[in-house]
């Protein structure tokens, strides 16, 4: 396919009439035909000019065999600039099929349908990739995938193991509904984060849903200061990437963090505690309903309250962190942000205002989003940002190096995010538009370990557990009825049979579940099979087990034999898709369609001939079911590559 590059200033191809205004006195009423023609020509000319601009900046026609990838934005300038400087070749641009499956999974967590693939590949539009991106960014499924991402980030779950006060099912569900709604309204990340830091009231109420983030900060088995610390650790780690506060809240950096962080080494325990002090007026009050233990709708809920007074007191002798003792005459710390600003007014609001304007806010989210799409962060692990090693204009003293693989890129990405109102969709759009993101994951001639931090190719990722489940559902068309629980077990009288516990309206998609304990109900009955399947694919529990992409024997056993999520769905009798597929009389075309549906591509010559040959060995319907099973168990089914 030919390269299509248009310089921005090609005005000469615009029709000359465009510069001519309609003649004096020419209005629709005086001469409709001329008016309309003139308007039409104007429209055409503007449209042509805009299209050319779009093609130059956003279209991704596949480059010729050895042509360098087109640099579409600042991401490409940085990535390809560095590759050129290191004399390393980038991979080719991904094929249309590779790109489509990847971008569907990466943006909305679903595989494309066979028709989506066929239309996309067949389209000659030079801006087809940008159109697909636009469609995906605005799809409702976006809110599900990124709602799950955000809740992974903050660790939202019904009962975190380290906590004294917990969100419980009601708080978890409220938060889950809230974040998905925030995303659907395209709200800035600063606004979303601000709400999670500053809201209060009873955590079960939907209008107080964001307050459940504060409830997550409750630390069990220790004094209140442990809770203030935990709230700071969660905020700083999730929202600023400053995971080292967890270390500093036990001890100063000196003699501890010299191997890890320049900034942290200079940090003192009291600095960190002054940050935590922003939370020292938060009270998490157990709601004790007057009627007694069980059965009350608010049983186990928490009132998040800001006390009028209180400080971070240095007077603890037990708990999860070393004893806190006065520093000279200082016994009660008041909040001070890490830049020295003393908090006034409501301390949580003061903290939230500083945090969302902290330069690390943008850098943190830019870095984390980069990792979502590129597989490794520009700084990795993503919660170890070191503010003293991020500025290319102020590099740290030797032997320290700048922390990011591409320091200028990280800053530019952060600036882009902030300049675009910290809008998640805008950030994702610009990442995904880049040629760097669209590189193939295949590399020739020989891949070397040193190329890894250069992002010279795309790195495949195994689908998330929810994506695996949902891909099987989408491909087969067999829609399970998954429901999650609506009230916590102690709100319901103990004798209630589990199956009659209040549950959500059923949905077919695992990506809609509020946490890793769900769905507890399958087709209306309590059933753990789907949860077991998802656990096998290492969904994690947002608490003691992190989400992971690694493989396992149990995953393979599930894909081959699971008699709830897999095997029933590949039976023609159950699958609307396979029923339709069976109507295709030509075996080769049938195999093509099956591959497009499950694997988002046509079969290779070898795959096709082997698959078609199978029809000679068994009954036709058996062959179809066998091949559907093979498709789900193919290695490439599991990957976004």
């Amino acid at each position: 396919m030919a390269l299509a590059i248009f310089a921005w200033a090609q005005e000469d191809s615009v029709p000359s009439e465009q510069s001519t205004a309609p003649e004096q006195g020419c209005t629709f009423r005086s001469d409709p035909a001329q008016f309309l023609n003139a308007q039409g020509r104007t429209r055409d000319a503007v449209h042509a000019r805009v299209r050319k601009f779009a093609e130059a900046h956003f279209s991704t026609v596949e480059a010729g065999a050895d042509a360098a990838p087109i640099r579409r934005n600042f991401i490409d300038d940085e990535i390809f600039g560095k590759l050129d400087a290191m004399n390393v070749k980038p991979a080719k641009i991904s094929s249309d099929e590779e790109f489509l499956r990847r971008v569907y999974l990466d943006i909305i967590g679903r595989i494309p349908s066979a028709n989506d693939v066929k239309e996309f590949v067949a389209s000659a539009a030079t801006d087809k990739r940008s159109r697909v991106i636009e469609t995906l960014i605005t799809a409702p499924e976006f809110n599900d995938k990124w709602g799950v991402w955000f809740q992974d980030l903050v660790g939202m779950t019904e009962i975190p193991s380290t906590n004294n006060r917990r969100p419980q099912i009601e708080g978890r569900n409220a938060f889950d509904g809230w974040i998905r709604e925030q995303l659907s309204h395209n709200r800035p990340m600063t606004a979303i984060v601000y709400d999670t830091l500053t809201r209060g009231g009873n955590n079960f109420f939907t209008e107080n849903a964001p307050a459940n983030f504060i409830v997550l900060g409750s630390a069990g088995m220790g004094p209140a200061q442990d809770t203030y610390d935990q709230m700071l650790v969660k905020s700083a780690t999730s929202y600023l990437g400053l995971g080292h506060y967890d270390c500093l809240l036990c001890h100063s950096g000196r003699n501890h963090l010299e191997q890890l962080t320049v900034w942290g080494t200079k940090g003192t325990r009291s600095d960190a505690q002054r940050m935590a002090a922003h939370f020292s007026r938060v009270r998490l009050n157990n709601v004790v309903p007057g009627t007694g233990q069980y059965g009350h709708a608010l049983y186990n809920s928490t009132d998040v309250v800001d006390a009028a007074a209180g400080t971070y007191d240095l007077n603890t002798t037990f708990g999860n962190r070393p004893g806190r003792t006065p520093i000279g005459s200082e016994r009660n710390l008041t909040p001070e942000y890490r830049d020295g600003t003393r908090a006034t007014g409501n301390w949580r609001a003061a903290f939230a205002n500083k945090l969302i304007n902290d330069p690390l806010f943008g850098i943190n989210f830019a870095n984390r989003l980069w990792k979502e799409f590129f597989g490794i962060g520009l700084v990795d692990p993503v919660d170890t940002l070191d503010p003293d090693r991020l500025d290319a204009n102020k590099p740290p003293a030797s032997p320290w190096t700048l922390q990011a693989t591409h320091p200028q890129l990280l800053i530019k990405l952060s600036q882009f995010f902030v300049e675009n109102d910290t809008n998640l969709r805008e950030l994702i759009k610009t990442i995904v538009h880049s040629s760097a993101y669209q590189l193939s994951s295949r590399y020739e001639p020989e891949w070397k370990v040193e190329y890894v931090p250069l992002f010279a190719r795309h790195y495949p990722r195994r689908m998330m557990a929810e994506e695996v489940h949902d891909a099987i559902v989408k491909a087969t068309g067999v829609m399970p009825q998954l429901s999650y629980q609506l009230v916590n077990n102690q709100t319901i009288p103990q004798i209630t049979p589990a199956n009659s516990r209040p549950k959500s309206d059923p949905v077919a998609w695992a990506m809609k579940m509020p946490d890793a304990t769900e769905p507890r109900f399958l087709n209306g009955t309590q059933n753990g099979s789907v949860v077991n399947f998802l656990n096998t694919f290492l969904r994690g529990n947002r608490d003691t087990a992190r989400r992971a992409e690694t493989g396992s024997i149990l995953q393979q056993l599930s894909l081959m034999n699971d008699n709830t999520v897999v095997l029933p769905k590949i039976k023609i009798a159950n699958s609307p898709y396979l029923k339709e597929l069976a109507k295709i009389t030509d075996n080769g075309e049938l195999v093509d369609d099956l591959w497009l549906t499950f694997l988002s591509r046509k079969p290779t010559t070898a795959e096709r001939s082997k698959a078609v040959a199978h029809f000679t060995k068994v009954a036709r319907n058996t062959a179809i079911e066998d091949l559907a099973w093979v498709a789900v168990n193919k290695v490439d089914f599991l990957f976004s590559y």
Partner: protein, 456 residues
């Protein structure tokens, strides 16, 4: 070419720091090529471990059976029996030498006391279920910074004693455990292999449409997907890893050796009490008999959280101890007969103990930090207790061991490693936090240590 840390990767073969690799080189490069898990890709320090002190692990055991009594069993009614007006007659307290034992509710284990020692000066850190349960499985405070990456004790055992892909079965098997701590930052080879044994094989290890259909499909898969499974996929190491797990999974299916372990009939189940716990004990015995690579077996048994009606006959405590007794006693006996008991360390503990003295207002017992642990096997000296508590088992009156303080879960952890011949003071420097991962953490100057008195 030097990476950004100045490490020259072009000459790896001769570098000395590979002398004691903790990741096999192959696995390391696999991860690099796959770009799965960011921190593996940019190592910043040599992969070596440093022993903190010269220690002599006991080294009598090859295997561990770790019984997690989820919910927190009442210690003053079980392993640290204290009698009072509340003690129901069915408990039938009996003396075995110096040991007072509830013969009435655990008669079979009463006959095995020669092989059993009780740690009565044990104290939990936290009376919170999820927190403490996680704590005893990873051997450190789950709130600590390091807990984010900490592996389950079983995963460390898999790392130290596992045979890797050469073994048919994973080194760490977890029975009747819903979910819990995994292998942390260690590679997925060391993840727990979850099974809920019912005597009918491993779940998902047989094909609903029958072996004939399965074999046909499996062969078709290997044929059609051959390009991806040659071991050098263009897509990188993550893909090769999937293919490798697939073959390992296949080996577990329709495998007579594996079936022998997980398939047992009603008669066999009856010998162990016909309970989920009993089935897990049978499975543990079979796993060790078969010797197919499993070294650490966790059995999770829930229901011990008896806030109400603990002494109701045939319910509450009596019900659960009957299951426990009828499962664990024949396990110990069978291992003894097989000659495996001497090389298997058995630990049974909950996440904490329960309140002592008179029961609470609902005739039950609540969370309590003092607890007691049962230890058996690995050539320990049995029929005695280490440590003692006051007249109600409220607090330790005598620690009973050289550290002269309460026994903590970290000490139990150290004991497990020592029994297996593993240096419990090991610190690994391949962790992603770059801080150093200690097998047994230190805590504000307290040095945790194995309870070697068990063997003397």
């Amino acid at each position: 070419m030097r990476d950004r840390f100045g490490i020259d990767w072009s000459n790896i073969k001769g570098s000395h720091f590979w002398a004691r690799p903790q990741l096999s080189r192959r696995l390391f490069f696999r991860h690099c090529a796959s770009a799965v898990g960011g921190y593996f890709l940019m190592p910043s320090r040599p992969l070596e471990t440093v022993a903190k002190a010269a220690v002599s692990p006991i080294g009598t055991a090859k295997n561990v059976i770790f019984i997690l009594m989820a919910g927190g069993p009442s210690h003053c009614d079980t392993f640290d029996l204290k009698e009072g007006v509340w003690t129901p007659s069915f408990m039938a307290p009996t003396s075995y030498g110096d040991l007072r034992w509830p013969q009435g509710i655990m008669p079979l284990l009463g006959e095995q006391l020669d092989h059993i020692a009780l740690l009565r000066s044990t104290k939990s850190w936290a009376a919170v279920h999820e927190l403490s349960r996680t704590w005893i499985q990873i051997g450190r405070n789950p709130i600590s910074g390091l807990a984010k990456i900490a592996p389950h004790i079983g995963s460390v055992v898999s790392l130290e004693l596992g045979l890797g892909r050469k073994a048919t079965l994973p080194a760490f098997v977890s029975l009747n455990t819903g979910s819990g701590p995994d292998q942390g930052y260690l590679t997925p080879d060391h993840s727990p292999f979850y099974v809920n044994p019912n005597g009918n094989g491993i779940g998902n290890a047989s094909h609903a449409d029958g072996q004939g259909v399965f074999d046909r499909r499996f062969n078709l898969l290997q044929d059609i997907d051959a390009e991806n499974r040659s071991g050098a996929s263009e897509l990188g190491g993550a893909v090769d890893e999937v293919a490798s797990f697939n073959l390992s999974a296949r080996k577990l299916m329709y495998n007579p050796d594996v079936n022998r372990i997980f398939t047992f009939d009603a008669a066999q189940r009856a010998l162990y009490g016909t309970t989920a716990f009993g089935n897990a004990c049978i499975t543990a015995r079979n796993l060790l008999r078969a010797n197919l690579g499993t070294r650490f077996i966790q059995i999770t048994m829930g229901g011990w959280d008896m806030h109400q009606n603990i002494y109701t006959p045939n319910a509450g405590l009596q019900n659960l101890t009957r299951q426990f007794d009828s499962g664990l006693a024949p396990l110990i006996a069978d291992l003894k007969t097989d000659g495996l008991l001497d090389e298997t360390l058995i630990i049974a503990m909950g996440e904490f103990g329960r309140t002592t003295g008179s029961p609470n207002g609902q005739a039950g017992r609540d969370h309590f930090l003092q607890q007691a642990v049962l230890v058996a096997g690995a050539k320990i000296r049995g029929k005695r207790a280490i440590g003692a508590t006051d007249e109600a088992a409220r607090a330790t009156s005598e620690p009973g061991w050289s550290a002269e303080r309460d026994i903590r879960v970290e000490d139990v952890e150290a004991t497990i490693y020592s029994a297996l011949g593993v240096d419990w003071t090991t610190v690994r420097y391949d962790d992603p936090l770059g801080r150093g991962f200690e097998y047994v953490p230190t805590n504000q100057g307290v040095q945790y240590a194995p309870i070697h008195e068990l063997w003397s």
